[in-house]
Subunit: 417 residues, 2 copies
């Protein structure tokens, strides 16, 4: 599955990077206190040569190490810089269903200097969805919005920053709690505001817009609120959606209820969820940010990133029994050793088949053929190869599924005749 995700990332020209699992604690905390629980590491037998060494921690995401990497290698990179990174990360959370303390993330990001075309925001959405398709995941919709839409709309409604943050937080729960509860939550933000009912109604009306076609702008305009930030967000989201149509992407919807991470994301935001299990939470997430590495380098590096929560996804596929059969051996073929004097021909046959690209196990001892067949069966090896028991006889291959056995030649045998 990781190979297929990787191949999809590379098919769009994303370059692989890997960073150490360990960073200096100072780097991990450079963006201020994080809500992610960090694991620190220490040598069991710390001695004098550890005095004065920096405190170290395991990375809790791939974004902070990536920011450190970009700052460190800035002069060697060509921008826009497109990278992917598939590594384990660690968070000291209480483990629970679908939440791990050690798990694998698959991240792609594009970074520009000073500015970055919004078309990359579309590309990332397409790549992420194609990666899911490549590993056979269906029933996931990627919900896209642009933070400027909700924020500009609320500015158009005359709300101050603090009020906007509270409303956005309420709307973030809309798809979980429904319209009525969300409206009530918004009203509770402004107990003394005469227009609170209207604000709540308008906000929920906006956030309820979910659009795969081209009527996005019209539907928002019909709500009668205007603000330059709103216009800008709408223009960007429209451009992303039309770019996605050109790319032939599917299962992607403009969904104005998506808010995500108030302080970090500044434009496009993504959230991919299983249609039939909204409570499972997002398995794809990300967005556009103004500056990747401000804590490490005096350059403005805007970017857009999206992350596939591989481990959570894997759990869901196991739960759904979409992953069922786990082969105990990758081998295509087991070659039988009928008697000790056939060892050379067994090994020579194996090497010849490996040269042809097959994965081949050889049996280790001249035990009863029944025992050797049973080994192949238990390991799920689909074909058993019999070298000639005596010189002059042909090789034969048994198809373990059908039971059929037929003569075969090393130079042209193939699994499906």
């Amino acid at each position: 599955m990781l190979d297929r995700i990787r191949a999809t990332f590379e098919s769009y020209g994303f370059a692989p990077i890997e960073t150490p699992s360990v960073e200096e604690l100072e780097i991990l905390l450079a963006k201020g206190e994080t809500d992610k629980e960090i694991y620190t590491i220490e040598r069991l037998q710390a001695d004098e040569h550890s005095a004065g060494e920096a405190r170290l921690g395991l990375h809790y995401d791939l974004t902070v190490p990536f920011a450190r990497y970009v700052a460190q290698h800035f002069n060697d990179l060509v921008f826009p810089f497109k990278r992917y990174q598939m590594q384990r990360v660690w968070r000291g959370e209480r483990p629970q269903a679908g939440r791990f303390r050690e798990f694998t993330q698959c991240d792609i990001d594009v970074i520009g200097i000073d500015n970055l075309a919004v078309t990359f925001d579309a590309e990332l959405a397409a790549v992420a969805m194609q990666a899911l398709e490549a590993i056979g995941v269906s029933g996931v919709t990627l919900h896209i919005s642009n933070r400027k839409i909700l924020d500009g709309f609320l500015q158009g409604l005359g709300l101050e920053p603090a009020g906007r943050v509270s409303v956005i937080r309420a709307i973030d729960a809309l798809h979980k709690v429904g319209a009525d509860q969300t409206k009530a939550a918004i009203c509770a933000v402004f107990p003394d505001h005469g227009d609170r009912e209207a604000i709540a109604a308008k906000s929920v009306a906006l956030a309820s817009i979910s659009e795969t076609g081209v009527e996005l702008v019209e539907r928002v305009q019909a709500l009668g609120i205007a603000h330059p930030v709103l216009e800008s967000g709408l223009a960007e989201l429209s451009q992303v959606m039309s770019h996605l149509r050109f790319l032939g992407a599917s299962n992607i919807v403009a969904d104005l209820s998506i808010a995500r991470g108030f302080d970090y994301y500044t434009g496009t935001v993504y959230e991919g969820r299983f249609d039939d299990a909204p409570g499972f939470g997002s398995i794809v997430a990300g967005g556009r940010y103004d500056d990747l590495a401000g804590a490490f380098i005096n350059k403005k590096l805007p970017g857009v990133g999206i992350s596939i929560g591989f481990s959570r996804l894997f759990v869901k596929l196991l739960q759904d029994k979409a992953i069922t059969h786990i082969r105990r051996s990758p081998a295509d073929v087991l070659i039988v050793l009928p008697s000790e004097d056939r060892r050379e021909i067994m090994l020579v046959t194996a090497q010849a088949l490996r040269k042809r690209g097959f994965k081949v196990e050889t049996y280790h001892a001249p035990q009863k053929v029944g025992k050797q067949l049973s080994y192949a069966e238990k390991k799920g090896i689909p074909f058993v190869w019999f070298p000639p028991f005596e010189d002059g006889q042909p090789h034969e291959v048994k198809d373990m599924a059908s039971g059929a056995q037929a003569p075969a030649a090393i130079e042209n045998w193939s699994p499906s005749p």
Copy 2:
């Protein structure tokens, strides 16, 4: 490189496993005090829910986690169990040239219940050397011995266990310090022994036997020492070498100076070194052990394992400039965006080429063609694709190496005409 190693491992039917980076400290220390420096981990904001949790550490090799894994999943495994594992490991050592605190190991092991055919010892050597070949590493010789040979020979000389250990330790340095110094070291072990010169001479004579042909047994017998443990070791090593000949393996030599890890290995021992840089140390190492998981399960599980020190190998290849060219993009093709109205055809062309298996970047903005070409050049993308600037014109492709540009069709273009 890791992909090729993996493909080689799988071509012999080894199954992949991965274990967590983190194990309980008790597990990591189960075999008694280790000489490897362990990193422990702790949550930065430890609170009440961490009280009573087991202390955790990062694994320092892949053998201990594998032993824990086999014990835990014993009933689900089919034996002989052949697994490979390619993961990072951590050791709190002082970093120096070719030594890292975080590095990648590639391990293969075969585990049996109660007993395990010695032919697997040959298979492992062949697989490891083929993996090196698959990643273009040359100039490495795999030295194989069997610990019983040296130990049985020294028993045949009448030495007690403590003396044997000291002699073996001295012989372990033979290939570094030479015969004279090794003899002196052995003599120093038995200051009061009348035959110490003869013991030293015989031991060094044995350890100097290095044999790729079939005369191994004769050369040892010519030294005139007999002992059942010696005979057993010689029989095993001979069988391993003849199995390797059947497999067509090369650059493998029976070398009786190889001793390695006195307490752990009990039969075959391997050590792979660069011929031209013996001081660089081993990049492949391993051997046969009596019992993998005795600390965790009441079963006798003998095994044989070999490990490729991937990170050290990588450093050597960088040093030797065997790895030089690092592409900044995996893309085969960059598609130019001549003007905004060509965006759709650019994206559609990209998707069609990706479907054909090519890795394709699209340029993000209709900037000057010279700038777009320069982007391809800086990222090392070998082909630049020009969609028709106007309808009715053909697509064209420029080969960045030769500068040649020619019409091309989406459905049958290929990089090498």
